[in-house]
């Protein structure tokens, strides 16, 4: 790291040599890329609520896994995949039916999470489980988890690649996709599976409760700025990675500034996403001003009325 020494005011000592930091940066980057890409479809399909529900449902899975001594990642995945399947089975096309189905599964899961977290707190006599599951554990991940996360990430992105065009078409119009012979329910189910995997990965990174931030945040910023789907996807993935890495760095450095007790990584990542979202709003506003200004320079009606 040639630049590391000269950048030392930015990077507190040990950042580049710490094993937990390496794992955190790798896992965070993979989770951010997958969440950003899947998130673009979550936003344009109007399923942000389903994504949020899945992350809350994952809370029950993560806390159950903690209770039986397994990695929380597997708990997140098991519960999210099952929940996605249930949502698809009882989910109805009408938004209202879909919201209701999601809400009912969500309520039941949060109840379970409350039970499991309570039991976990009693049995371990600490609140470690609660903080770990709800707000993430990126600095305490076992090194072997990077491979698992990478495999899951590839699986999730492979689903998106295969479903790319039918997903877009059915996001534009369910009826049109249906009429063109797209197996709309199968496509919807495949997408929900990719969503469940993405949410599980970001739950490990920044916690079950906050995983929606990594899913919807970068995608929402990218959709403000990009005109084409491919560009929106690349931008969302890049924004996610930047937020994850900058957030991790701030959290690491804060242990020095704050004298031992640093800020939680999840807080730092979500804060970066929020700042970027705000900044993108400013960019969009400036663009609109410039467009209005240039339209004002050419006062004539821009568009011919006649069709033929």
């Amino acid at each position: 790291m040639l630049g590391a020494a000269s950048w030392s005011p930015l990077f507190e000592p040990g950042f580049f040599s710490s094993e937990p930091v390496h794992v955190a940066l790798a896992v965070g980057a993979i989770a951010a890329v997958v969440s950003g890409i899947v998130g673009v479809f979550t936003v344009i399909r109007g399923q942000s609520f389903a994504g949020h529900a899945l992350s809350d449902i994952g809370t029950a899975g993560g806390s159950a896994a903690f209770l039986v001594g397994a990695s929380t990642l597997y708990g997140f995945i098991a519960f999210n995949v099952v929940a996605a399947a249930v949502m698809e089975l009882i989910g109805i096309r009408k938004p209202r039916g879909r919201d209701l189905a999601t809400g009912i599964v969500l309520g039941a899961s949060l109840g379970l999470a409350a039970l499991f977290l309570y039991e976990g707190t009693i049995s371990s006599s600490t609140t470690g489980a609660t903080v770990n599951v709800l707000f993430g554990s990126i600095f305490t991940l076992p090194p072997g988890i990077t491979t698992v996360i990478a495999v899951l990430g590839v699986a999730s992105l492979a689903l998106i690649v295969v479903l790319y065009r039918p997903l877009l078409l059915s996001s534009v119009s369910y009826e049109l996709a249906e009429a063109r012979g797209v197996p709309v329910r199968l496509v919807g189910a495949g997408y929900l599976l990719a969503l469940a995997l993405a949410v599980s990965m970001s739950a490990v990174t920044i916690g079950a409760i906050l995983s929606t931030a990594l899913l919807v945040g970068p995608a929402a910023i990218a959709l403000r700025l990009a005109t084409r789907t491919g560009m929106a996807i690349l931008l969302a993935a890049a924004i996610g990675v930047v937020a994850c890495w900058v957030g991790t760095l701030i959290a690491y450095d804060s242990t020095v500034w704050a004298g031992g007790n640093g800020w939680p990584v999840s807080f730092c990542i979500v804060a970066v996403i929020f700042v970027l979202y705000f900044a993108s709003g400013v960019v969009v506003g400036l663009r609109a001003d410039r467009r209005r200004a240039s339209a004002g320079a050419r006062p004539a009606a821009a568009r011919p009325v006649e069709v033929a």
Partner: protein
């Protein structure tokens, strides 16, 4: 350019010989005695009509009359409980490339990351898995169809930033790019201002004539279609009256269809269908006015 069917095919009397076009080629769409029941309710009752290549047919009826159901039956998304549908010589099937479809109420949000030309490209191959491969052939096909609907100017604009009329043109291009013989449009004029609606209708009439395709367009108000429509299918309570506009939009025909007296009034080139005030006391039907 329509096939002569009996004017009120499915009302009362047993249907006469349908679509007995004298010396004409086979129609692109032939619907014969189609009935549909959904959830125990009879939504369509022995509906018959046909549309020829180059023909412009309006599917007129109020909300709930069965317009969307009829279009979905033709698309092969709903199985009829009786009757027969023939599209371009073949029986109906899903993913029939002979049919182009513009669904109703497309909500294209401003943040949808698609340009007009991307949407039209999806019309070509959006049902296939994976990514599309850009090629000069694909690009020129998209350019050509965008030009045909007068959308070249906003081809590279984000679809969600276009006006309702512009979006409708792009949706029509999306339906046309697979070169269908039959174009189905579900309420394409709803939510359009009068001028945009007139432009869309004019565009469709030109496409029907130039590309020699059959158009079936549903609407709750027939007036914007009067200048171009050569055939009407008028739906009320699942039953249909079909024929030329002059044959169908008449006091006697529509009164028989509704089962109570309605008056067809021509005012300054517009048509109003209203329940006859002096007759409504004899009928227990809803006397609400139909049409504009």
């Amino acid at each position: 350019m329509i096939v002569k069917t009996d004017a009120v095919a499915s009302i009362g009397d047993p249907p006469l010989a349908h679509g007995t076009a004298v010396g004409d080629a086979d129609p692109v769409l032939r619907v014969t005695d189609v009935s549909v029941s959904l959830g125990g309710r009879r939504v369509l009752d022995r509906v018959s009509f046909s549309v020829e290549a180059g023909g412009f047919c309006g599917l007129i009826g109020s909300n709930g009359a069965g317009k969307t159901t009829l279009l979905r039956v033709i698309l092969g998304l709903i199985a009829p409980s009786g009757g027969r549908i023939v599209v371009a010589g073949g029986t109906r099937s899903r993913r029939n490339p002979q049919i182009g479809y513009v669904p109703q109420k497309i909500a294209l949000e401003a943040d949808m990351p698609l340009r007009a030309r991307d949407l039209v490209g999806l019309g070509l191959d959006g049902h296939r898995f994976g990514f599309s491969k850009p090629s000069p052939t694909r690009r020129s096909a998209v350019d050509e169809i965008l030009d045909a609907v007068g959308a070249t100017e906003f081809a590279d604009a984000r679809i969600g930033n276009l006006s309702g009329g512009e979006q409708q043109r792009v949706m029509i291009a999306m339906a046309l790019i697979s070169r269908p013989k039959l174009l189905l449009l579900d309420e394409p004029l709803a939510n359009l201002d009068i001028r945009s609606a007139a432009e869309v209708v004019e565009l469709l009439a030109r496409i029907a004539a130039e590309q020699h395709i059959a158009i079936l367009l549903s609407a709750h108000d027939m007036n914007p279609l009067l200048p171009v429509m050569d055939h009407v299918v008028y739906l009320a309570d699942g039953r249909a009256a079909s024929g030329t506009t002059d044959q169908v939009v008449r006091t006697d025909t529509l009164s028989r269809l509704y089962g109570h007296h309605v008056e067809v009034i021509h005012v300054q080139g517009r048509v109003l269908v209203v329940s006859g005030a002096e007759h409504q006391a004899h009928h227990d039907h809803d006397p609400s006015p139909r049409g504009p």
